[in-house]
């Protein structure tokens, strides 16, 4: 019971999604959403994560909002950049490796997935803080410079958020 109360925010979020998908704002639907949310959270905590949701997915919601705006902007900017490369056939696919300064595993996953979402770069492997990325427009072999160019704006946003949460594991 205590754990369910701890996860009230997530249950609320799941219930909101449930109500939206049902397009029906009655007491029964809301109750159903809450129950389904609790069941879903229980099973993920128990079977998938083997830990608590709140401990693993600890981010600031406001940061996430700003982050997704930057992400969508980045997708379009990089997208048009890559379009030009495809049309003019000037691609140079190569693998670059670099280290990120982030320490939290969840934040590194966020960063890696953002890199995959941005057209032109796909994360291939992550081990600890080390990322291996395929770059469609590789014009530098220098690890630090490639890292700055690929993950610059994402890392700048994620670093303060991680520091604010004070997690160093």
């Amino acid at each position: 019971m205590q754990r369910i109360l701890n996860n009230a925010g997530f249950v609320f979020l799941l219930a909101v999604v449930w109500v939206i998908l049902n397009e029906n704002l009655s007491v029964l639907t809301i109750l159903g959403g809450v129950i389904v949310g609790i069941v879903a959270l229980y099973f993920t905590n128990r079977l998938v994560l083997k830990d608590d949701y709140q401990r693993i997915y600890r981010v600031r919601p406001l940061m996430l909002l700003g982050y997704s705006l930057v992400l969508v902007k980045e997708i379009y900017v990089a997208g048009f950049h890559a379009m030009v490369k495809i049309i003019t056939r000037k691609v140079n696919v190569n693998i670059v490796e670099f280290d990120t300064q982030l320490k939290d595993d969840f934040h590194i996953s966020l960063l890696a997935n953002s890199i995959t979402l941005t057209p032109g770069t796909v994360t291939m492997e992550k081990s600890g803080q080390h990322l291996k990325v395929i770059w469609i427009d590789a014009h530098t072999n220098d690890s630090a410079e490639a890292g700055r160019e690929i993950m610059g704006s994402f890392e700048r946003l994620l670093l303060p958020s991680e520091k604010r949460l004070g997690r160093h594991e």
Binding site: I20, L71, Y76, V91, T116, P119, G120, T123
Partner: protein, 126 residues
């Protein structure tokens, strides 16, 4: 206001068509595995995102807009996961940077190679 929303929506649709067109073009143009993976991933992030944004602008009810928003989040998450999984899998099974993609349909009627000119490929999906 309504006209403005429709204009924005149309602009997004045009952008998405452009993305899809270049994606199709790129898939036929490049032969290596990783280059094709890049381009296939672009199709979704650029094209499908634009389609959803286009309908988000002209959504008739707030509920419909929220559903589209959820669909957008789902697409973004699953696209990143899928692209990463395929790339990682091909890396671990020994695909090199300049490995050409095997044509599993070679010799059949579905072999794309005879029709690889850019304008023939553009008509397919754009």
């Amino acid at each position: 206001m309504n006209t403005l929303a429709q204009a924005v929506s149309t602009a997004f649709l045009v952008v998405s068509m452009f993305f899809f067109f270049v994606t199709t073009l790129g898939l036929f143009r490049f032969k290596t595995v990783y280059a094709r993976l890049h381009i296939a991933g672009k199709c979704l992030t650029g094209g499908a995102l634009s389609v959803i944004l286009a309908y988000l602008v002209v959504a008739p009810t707030p509920a419909a807009a929220f559903r589209l928003f959820i669909a957008m989040l789902l697409l973004l998450f699953t696209n990143a996961l899928g692209t990463h999984a395929i790339t990682r899998g091909s890396h671990h099974s020994g695909v090199e940077l300049n490995t050409l993609e095997e044509n599993s349909m070679a010799g059949t009627a579905f072999d794309p190679r005879p029709r690889m000119t850019p304008d023939a490929s553009g008509e397919g999906d754009a």
